[in-house]
Amino acid sequence: MASPPYPWLNPALTAGGLAPLLMLAVQGPRGDLGPNAIEAALNQTGLLALVLLLASLACTPLRLVSKWTWPARVRRTLGLLAFTYAASHFLVYAVLDQGLALGAILEDIGKRPFITVGFTALVLLVPLAVTSTNRWVRRLGFPRWQRLHRLAYVAAVLGVVHFVWRVKKDLTEPLVYGAVLALLFAIRGAEALRKRRARAAMAARNAA
């Protein structure tokens, strides 16, 4: 059954989703982020990029499990928020942390797997953000668009790996996000299996 239109939902997600980023932009220059403000901003933007990406990937499984339709309508907002945080994360790293030292940045991206996977995840999100409009869905055709946007799952896996490699010793937190991602995969896998079975049963009935 279709959910009511909830006209407030997407504006609320946008406003609430951007609030922590705005708060960082205010807190940082005021010295409210502790002795190592750049590290705090990096950790915060990186974590929220992953959280929002997982939230956008949770929309379809949530719709399948709950039969609500509103999750499908917030997926784009969540995905674009995730991209905003991922891009901010990279900008904090490149501009504030590295001071735009191109040599050091390229060396990091090329030589350190921890940074290579994080950067790859961001690069994968760029075409998804660009093609997030209705016009692009029409231009590509839905099946092709859908196939392209499965890259979001690849980006999320890379994001979790990036998090795991960043941590010095205690893996609890990154593994929690890994477990959430695995659960989302499991729901989608089960759904794909169910569909295939249904199709096979249908084909068998038609053949009979």
Binding site: L13, A15, P20, P35, N43, L47, V51, A104, R112
Partner: protein, 329 residues
């Protein structure tokens, strides 16, 4: 005054029913918008909170006793600006009290650094167990303003108070077999709640070669900024080896043993390919996951180049003549 009842507003001013209902719907939607936005913002804030948790409730120097400084401004002191006391005491790695940088300042009140005894044993002629206040009374306390370079590529400048480890070792008279010094932190999950988690193998252990331990730069610190060490900085006694990464500076020491063999060290056991026994500050040897070529001095925005041996090469490079520092990281 007129006693006529107030006139009804003309019908042209009465809000049409449809608009009236739309206003109610508008208010309802506005409420749902505000509630959802606040919930989303709050939820995200809580998830990312630990990076930006404020330290308002923290009183840095409650009950810490001023220490007598016998000597200040020694030959090894740096003139660089000192990292503010608040930063030195709220930005710490001390996993016995939690993994976040401000966890030690928040939770180390359970440590109770008095009464405290230190066992000195192993390859020494005068093994002993000594009370911490007696131990620190054996030596005049010197102020040493040292750079501290963390393996995580940040650094501070800290005015420590302490005495050279070499003086203590001479007093207990190492035997001719002594080649290394092994240090052990307190093991007590009641006082160090982080030890209930298996993050590392507890207790924390560290070690130095005997010649490193005898070097005049190597300090046993009992205080900083003129006072006793706050718990989160390793009270009541910690090691400071300014040319090595910060994790060599073992905190809250209960045992110092002289040994024949190279002793195990905690981070080397946890991740041998990332942390070696020597752990000399070396911009040319990267950590497998990040570069060590530059560092952020706490309080500064721009990174600065990291110096070999953290700028103490003139004093200590000779200790490693002929040693391959790439392999012995």
């Amino acid at each position: 005054m007129s006693d006529k009842p107030p006139a009804e507003p003309p019908s042209s001013e009465v809000t049409p029913e449809a608009l009236y209902l739309r206003r109610r719907e508008f208010l309802k939607n506005a409420g749902l918008f505000a509630g959802t936005a606040a919930a989303v913002a709050g939820g995200l804030y809580l998830l990312g909170r630990k990076q930006t948790r404020p330290m308002d409730a923290f009183v840095p120097d409650a009950g810490l006793v001023d220490l007598p400084v016998a000597k200040s401004k020694g030959p090894y002191d740096t003139d660089e600006p000192r990292t503010p006391y608040e930063d030195v005491t709220t930005y710490n790695n001390f996993y016995e009290f939690g993994l976040d940088k401000n966890d030690p300042a928040r939770f180390a009140h359970t440590l109770k650094p008095r009464p405290w005894t230190v066992v000195i044993d192993g390859e020494v002629h005068k093994p002993q167990t000594v009370d911490i206040d007696q131990l620190t009374s054996w030596f005049p306390l010197e102020e040493r303003v040292y750079r501290m370079r963390c393996v995580e590529a940040w650094s501070m400048v800290i005015p420590w108070l302490g005495f050279p480890l070499g003086e203590l070792l001479k007093r207990v008279e190492p035997t001719s077999h002594a080649r290394y010094v092994a240090f052990t932190t307190l093991l007590d999950p009641e006082r160090m709640p982080g030890q209930r988690r298996g993050t590392l193998d507890w207790p924390y252990v560290e070690g130095l070669r005997l010649d490193e331990a005898m070097h005049p730069l190597t300090l046993m610190a009992a205080g900083l900024y003129g006072r006793q060490l706050p718990n989160q900085n390793g009270a009541p006694l910690r090691l400071v080896v300014p040319w090595k990464y910060g994790f060599k500076g073992i905190k809250s020491i209960v045992r110092i043993s002289l040994t024949r063999e190279q002793p195990p060290t905690t981070w080397n056991l946890a991740a041998p390919e990332e942390y070696g026994f020597y752990a000399n500050v070396n911009p040319a040897v990267s950590h497998p996951r990040w570069s060590q070529a530059t560092e952020r001095r706490i309080g500064e925005l721009e990174r600065r180049p990291t110096l070999p041996f953290n700028g103490y090469a003139e004093q200590v490079a000779h200790l490693y003549a002929g040693l391959d520092l790439r392999r012995n990281y």
